[in-house]
Symmetry: C2
Subunit: 199 residues, 2 copies
DNA sequence: TTTATAAATGAATGAACATTCATTTATATT
DNA sequence: AATATAAATGAATGTTCATTCATTTATAAA
C-alpha cells in the first residue's frame, strides 16, 4: 500500500494560499494549482473533496493557527492591561510573520465562502475573549460597555496598523512604506488603554 | 443615430455590484451579468471595454460616492471634536445606507484589482484628511502622533462597528443581530475623543 | 422622409474551467 | 518475493467563460 505524502498536502496548501492571495479567488484554478504544486490535477482530489472543500480547509487551518498564536501566554484572569498587551503582541507578531494568512482571511471575510459554520473551537475562543472582558469590567479595570464597542476599541486600531504595515500603504503623501515598529504599537496601545480605563 | 441609454448602464452597474457582493468575483461572469441586466453579452462591451474595466469603473464610482458623502458638511478648519463627529456621522450614514458599496469595497481591498492607481480625486481627499488632523494638532485639540496612528484610532473602531452592523455578526454568543444605533455610536466616539484629546 | 450612424443583438469561437476515471506506480503487509 | 491496496497520473468530458462580429434596430440630423 502506498502511503499519503504529508509534505505533498502541505505544498498544495501553501501554493493554494499563495495563489489566492496573489490572484484572488478569480485567478485561482485547480489546474494552475496542480502545476504550481507539481502534482497532477487528479491528485488534488485525493487530498480534498473539491475546490470549495480545499478553500474551506485552508480557512479552518488559518483560523486555528491564528487563535493558537493569540492565546500564547494569554491568561483570561490576568489584569486588563497585561492581558490586552499580551494579545496585541501575539496578534501583531502572528499577522506580521504570516502576511499571507492575514490577506487570505481578509479576502475570505467578505466573500461567499465566509458562510462556513463556526466550529466548536471558534466558540471556545470567543468565550475566552468575552470572559476576559467581563472579568476586567467586574474588577473595574475596564469601562462598562457593550462587548462590540469594547472589541472595536480594543483591536480595530491594531488591525488597521497591521494592514497598513503589510500592504505598505499608509496615509502619508510620499512613497515611503509604512512600517509598524514596537514604538508605534506601544504608543497606540497606550491610547487604547486610556480610552478604555474607567475614570 | 441611436443614443446611449443611461438607464441601461446604471442597471448593468447595479446588477454587477449585486452579483459581486453576493457571489464574489468568482461567481461574477459577463454572461450571467448580461442575463441579470436584460441585455445581450455584446451590449456590455459597448459600455465597458472588458470585464476588468467594468470592475475598475465600478470601484471608481463607489470611491467617488463615498468620498462625496464623507465630505458633506465637513470643514477641515472646524474644531477637532466637531469635524470628527461630522465625519463619523457621514461615514456611518453612507455605509449603512449603501451596504453593497461597503461590501464591494472591502472585497476589492485585498484582491488583485486593488492595484489601480490612485486618481487625483483620492489624493485631494487624502490631503484634506491630513490637513484636518494637522490643524487639530497645531491647535492642541489632538495629541501629536503619526498620521497612521491617528487614522487607526479615529476611524478603525467606527468601521469595525459598521461592519458588524452590516453583516449582523457581532461578538455576543446568542443569535441576536448586532445593530449599530446612535447611542452606541456616540458612546464609542466619546471613547475615541478621550483617547485622542491631549491631557 | 431619407439617410447616416451608433446601439443592440446573439450565435459563434477558442480558451480555461472543475471534475472524473481507467490505468499505472509505489509500498506496507504477508 | 508476492500480493493487495491506496496514491498518483493525465487524458478526456462537458461546462462555462470572456470576447468578437456580422447583422439588425432605433433615432438624430438632413
Amino acid at each position: 500500500m502506498r502511503t499519503r505524502d504529508e509534505q505533498k498536502e502541505l505544498t498544495i496548501r501553501e501554493k493554494a494560499l499563495e495563489m489566492i492571495v496573489e490572484q484572488g479567488f478569480d485567478g485561482f484554478s485547480m489546474q494552475k494549482l496542480a502545476k504550481a504544486a507539481n502534482v497532477s490535477p487528479g491528485t488534488l482530489y485525493i487530498y480534498f473533496k473539491d475546490r470549495d472543500d480545499l478553500i474551506m480547509k485552508l480557512w479552518e487551518t488559518q483560523m486555528k493557527n491564528m487563535s493558537d498564536a493569540i492565546l500564547y501566554n494569554f491568561d483570561p484572569e490576568a489584569s486588563f492591561e497585561e492581558g490586552l498587551r499580551v494579545q496585541w503582541m501575539n496578534r501583531a507578531r502572528y499577522l506580521i510573520e504570516n502576511p499571507l494568512s492575514m490577506q487570505f482571511m481578509e479576502q475570505i471575510k467578505y466573500s461567499p465562502y465566509h458562510h462556513v459554520s463556526l466550529t466548536r473551537l471558534d466558540n471556545n475562543f470567543l468565550d475566552m475573549m468575552r470572559k476576559f472582558a467581563h472579568n476586567a469590567i467586574k474588577r473595574k479595570e475596564l469601562v462598562k460597555l457593550p462587548i462590540e464597542v469594547y472589541w472595536s476599541m480594543a483591536f480595530a486600531p491594531l488591525y488597521q496598523l497591521v494592514k497598513m504595515h503589510i500592504t505598505g500603504r499608509g496615509m502619508h503623501s510620499g512613497p515611503e512604506k509604512f512600517v509598524l515598529d514596537e514604538k508605534t504599537m506601544n504608543m497606540t496601545l497606550k491610547l487604547v488603554l486610556k480610552a478604555l480605563r474607567p475614570t
